[in-house]
């Protein structure tokens, strides 16, 4: 805990570490894992009630489910991959979008109040799944040599600098891309959670004698940050699937 001499318990890395709820020796279970498990359950239950007994005239839950599904399909997959190529990737993109979104939303749910995706392992695995989709797809679509040409952006018309361009493209596409893909989601949620904790703790810390107005300001900031975080959570889930689609689009594209 970083103490600046005034006793303010500033949030830090320790805000992201949890004691195990249950310890089996070789395996332990903590709050983050519980929330990740709950995410899966929430999604499964919601989509079961939305589409389990789907009707031609949709009910309320089915309407919400269809709106969400259609949003990802039309605005993300069809916009980037097109109707013909994209249809195959709609299920994974819809699952990714809702999984990430619900994981993020735990950040502002009372009692939970922790975004699962602010633990780097979760975005890292999701980015790895996307990586394992688009890299083999490149080689499957273009063959071995063509696949490397696609990834490195080999372009003979560039003349002597084509090797330099290929080297940079290789580095940025194969090595940096999965890293930034995961870190973008992670860092957004990490920073958002830090800010929420900071203002929440501050509005409790400032709650004495003449500091009470400051506590009020901090509390208003907490509420404003919660609204902002709700927006950021949805945007980050959207950006994650949009980038995943862009990578797949790059893998499918004919390179000249």
């Amino acid at each position: 805990m970083s103490d600046n001499g005034c006793g303010f318990p500033a949030p830090g890395l320790h805000s992201f570490l949890f004691e195990p709820i249950a310890d089996f020796g070789w395996f332990y279970f903590n709050k983050v894992m519980l929330l990740a498990l709950l995410t899966t359950i929430v999604i499964c239950v919601f989509f079961y009630f939305a589409f389990g007994r789907s009707k031609v005239v949709p009910g309320k839950i089915q309407m919400i489910g269809e709106a969400g599904y259609d949003f990802v399909r039309r605005n993300v997959v069809y916009e980037t991959l097109g109707k013909k190529e994209g249809e195959k990737y709609v299920p994974i993109m819809v699952s990714l979008f809702f999984f990430i979104w619900i994981m993020n939303i735990w950040s502002v749910v009372p009692l939970a109040q922790f975004p699962v995706s602010s633990v780097i392992a979760y975005p890292a695995v999701l980015a790895a799944i996307v990586y394992l989709i688009w890299v083999p797809l490149t080689f499957k679509r273009h063959g071995f040599v063509g696949g490397w040409k696609n990834i490195t952006g080999y372009d003979p018309s560039l003349g002597p600098i084509k090797w330099l361009v290929s080297f940079i493209e290789f580095f940025s596409n194969l090595l940096v891309r999965p890293f930034t893909h995961a870190v973008r989601l992670f860092a957004n949620m990490f920073a958002g959670h830090l800010m929420l904790v900071m203002f929440t703790v501050a509005s409790w810390y400032l709650l004495n004698s003449w500091m009470i107005p400051a506590a009020g300001v901090s509390f208003v900031m907490t509420m404003a940050m919660i609204l902002f975080e709700l927006f950021v959570q949805a945007v980050q889930a959207y950006v994650f699937v949009l980038l995943a689609c862009t990578y797949i689009q790059g893998a499918l594209a004919e390179h000249h």
Partner: protein, 79 residues
């Protein structure tokens, strides 16, 4: 030169926050450019709103990621 190094060595306190302030300048300019040009594009071609908005948010995410990596790095390299 050596005088300025001595001066810099005397600076203490929460240097990380100053560093983060510096790190946020670039992404700040970037996000401004993204949304400024995005708004301009929307005003010029309102019929392409969907495409522009998707690219705008993509560009925003690219810029913003730099600032956020700046937030995370002190936790990695700090102490």
């Amino acid at each position: 030169m050596s005088a300025s190094i001595e001066l810099a060595a005397g600076v203490s306190g929460s240097l990380g926050s100053i560093g983060y302030g510096l790190a946020a300048i670039g992404p700040g300019i970037g996000v401004g450019i993204v949304f400024g040009n995005g708004t301009q594009a929307l005003a010029r071609q309102p019929e392409a709103a969907g495409l522009i908005r998707a690219n705008q948010i993509l560009g925003f995410a690219f810029c913003e990621a730099l600032a956020l990596i700046g937030i995370v790095m002190p936790f990695v390299f700090g102490q």
